[in-house]
């Protein structure tokens, strides 16, 4: 029996149990996202963190920033469509959703999204067929890592 198939089945079995998190989650959630997006994975290591790059089947490029302590402290995406933000933002999705609605009501018109809360920063910009996004939890950034490093 092909071990790839077995591990694939195991990942699928594990999914409903550990759909816990992406942003703010631990490193295993990166594999969850990869499975969910049916994407390919590439990893780049820096001093205090590792960047996991997932190319989703829809062509959206997702990057998940994992600290050496094993926490996903930031995610970014770029593509013709949005990725599954519920999956990618995990426990922060509801907070994002509320903030998005609040900003739309507050701003006198339509435009890119810029959510700047103490515990969550989310920026989504672009237009039909071209979207860019970035989300991070300031408190989870490893020492010496700045918001500008997340791109």
């Amino acid at each position: 029996m092909n071990s790839r198939i077995i591990s694939g089945i195991l990942v699928m079995l594990a999914l409903p149990l550990t759909m816990s998190a992406s942003l703010g989650g631990d490193a295993t959630s990166v594999q969850m996202d990869q499975a969910k997006m049916q994407g390919t994975l590439r990893t780049t290591s820096r001093d205090s963190y590792t960047v996991h790059e997932i190319q989703a089947s829809t062509g959206v490029a997702v990057k998940e920033y994992v600290s050496n302590a094993g926490k996903v402290f930031a995610v970014t995406w770029q593509g013709s469509f949005h990725p599954d933000l519920r999956q990618l933002l995990g426990a922060y999705f509801d907070q994002f959703s509320e903030a998005e609605k609040a900003q739309r009501t507050q701003r006198r018109g339509r435009g890119p999204l810029l959510i700047q809360q103490t515990g969550l920063v989310i920026q989504i910009s672009g237009h039909m067929r071209s979207f860019l996004g970035k989300a991070y939890v300031p408190q989870l950034l490893p020492a010496g890592v700045h918001a500008e490093d997340i791109r």
């Binding site: 013709s80 599954d84 739309r104 999204l113 910009s125 071209s130 860019l132």
Partner: protein, 412 residues
């Protein structure tokens, strides 16, 4: 001169006849009266010219949105028609979308192969619109798009939004959250989704759903059934649009301008001395250079964004407003300059623009227009409506020929 004037009178007369014809249908009603405007330049005229107004719109709260009206009829009918105002003109998207709450006529539902209703989930940057794909005969100025698929937003027939749709963002399904009675997407793309939605499997981005009684599931949608840029269905003048707006200084109540259909198809829509900027055919962007740093293949013109959104506070030196994270609030108005570059090289040209104090510019809620409204957009330039002030901006549709070459491109 004489014949020019005659032609203009004839065009105005024709447009007037249209308005009367469309206005007298049994099901007609006008949703939003357009407030009086104060044009600073004579607007263009002709059967391909639709007037647009920048004002506070149907929410009475918008700033820097270009609104117009559309007349929609049940396909084939000349009596079941409705003229709806307060429709936002958006070069950043493609397709006509109308709030269910603004519609008083019943439209035929598009169905899929199994007879189930087709319902769309359309992602914008700040939320999604969910609702059925229905068909209209559209009339705007003297142009007609017959059997045009549109999205009806917030229909009570499909109240349950699938989780796969809300995972793109929160719904914009009423006037307050959409900011308009509808959106007229006249951007560079011929359809809202394109070829990705014709594919089955994991590569399908999930914009179109088939909705039998058992629940909605993602489905494939042929290009010809997708919600298109309405312009491509016009018999003529179908290769793009021009938005023409007067110059604006500071904040005003409202200004009027024109949405002109076609590029180089009539005597009133030639390219003239406009510079053509080709754009990335896949994602619809070009490059903007600011302070010698190039933001490659990430910038765009978007009449549907209500400010010039660009870069961030660190890069620009412009402080964010203390009460609004989405706008800049410099203490004094800043004169700035950037350079736009065509995708893949070619044309370049500098753009002078101003960044004023957004709090001051937007403080008077009666002012629906402001030049100098800017805000952050890390990593790129979103040239929103203030860019269009004092310009004629051409948006050419992908695959369509124009005297300046095939679209997609922008010219100004």
């Amino acid at each position: 001169m004489k014949s020019d004037r005659l032609q203009r009178l004839l065009s105005v007369g024709l447009a007037g006849t249209w308005a009367v014809m469309m206005g007298c249908g049994g099901g007609s009603s006008t949703i939003t009266p357009t407030p009086p405007s104060t044009p600073t330049t004579p607007p263009s005229s002709g059967s391909n010219v639709q007037s647009i107004t920048v004002n506070t719109g149907p929410t009475a709260n918008y700033i820097d949105g270009a609104f117009t009206s559309v007349t929609v009829c049940v396909p084939g009918s000349t009596t079941s028609c409705q003229t709806i105002g307060g429709i936002l003109v958006d070069t950043g998207s493609s397709g006509l979308r109308i709030l269910s709450s603004a519609l008083t006529i019943s439209l035929p539902q598009q169905t899929g192969a199994n007879g189930s209703a087709i319902v769309e989930c359309l992602p914008f940057v700040d939320g999604i619109t969910w609702g059925p794909v229905q068909t209209v005969d559209l009339t705007i100025a003297g142009e007609e798009a017959k059997s045009l698929p549109i999205q009806v937003i917030g229909s009570s027939s499909f109240p349950t939004i699938p989780g796969g749709c809300t995972s793109n963002g929160a719904p914009e399904d009423d006037l307050a959250s959409l900011g308009a009675n509808g959106i007229l997407g006249v951007g560079n793309f011929a359809q809202d989704c394109g070829s990705a939605c014709t594919e089955s499997g994991g590569s399908n981005p999930g914009l179109y759903y088939s909705c039998p009684n058992s629940g909605c599931v993602v489905t494939t949608e042929a290009l010809s059934n997708q919600v298109p840029n309405p312009v491509v269905l016009f018999a003529t003048d179908n290769n793009g649009v021009i938005i023409e707006l007067p110059s604006v200084t500071g904040a005003e109540t409202s200004v009027s301008g024109s949405l002109i259909f076609g590029i180089g198809t009539q005597s009133n829509n030639g390219l003239g001395s406009a510079t053509i900027y080709t754009i990335d055919p896949n994602i619809g962007n070009f490059t903007t250079v600011f302070n010698n740093i190039s933001y490659g293949d990430a910038s765009f013109l978007d009449s549907g964004s209500n400010a010039i959104y660009f870069l961030d506070a660190n890069t620009t030196g412009l402080p964010i407003c203390t009460d609004a994270t989405y706008w800049y609030c410099p203490t004094s108005t800043q004169n700035l300059s950037a350079t736009n570059q065509a995708f893949g090289g070619g044309a370049t040209g500098s753009v002078n623009f101003v960044a004023g104090n957004a709090d001051t510019l937007s403080a008077n809620l009666n002012n629906g227009v402001a030049n100098g409204l800017t805000g952050p957009n890390p990593g790129s330039f979103d040239w929103g409506l203030p860019f269009f002030f004092g310009r004629k901006v051409y948006t050419a549709v992908e695959g369509k020929n124009t005297p300046g070459g095939a679209g997609p491109y922008w010219a100004y």
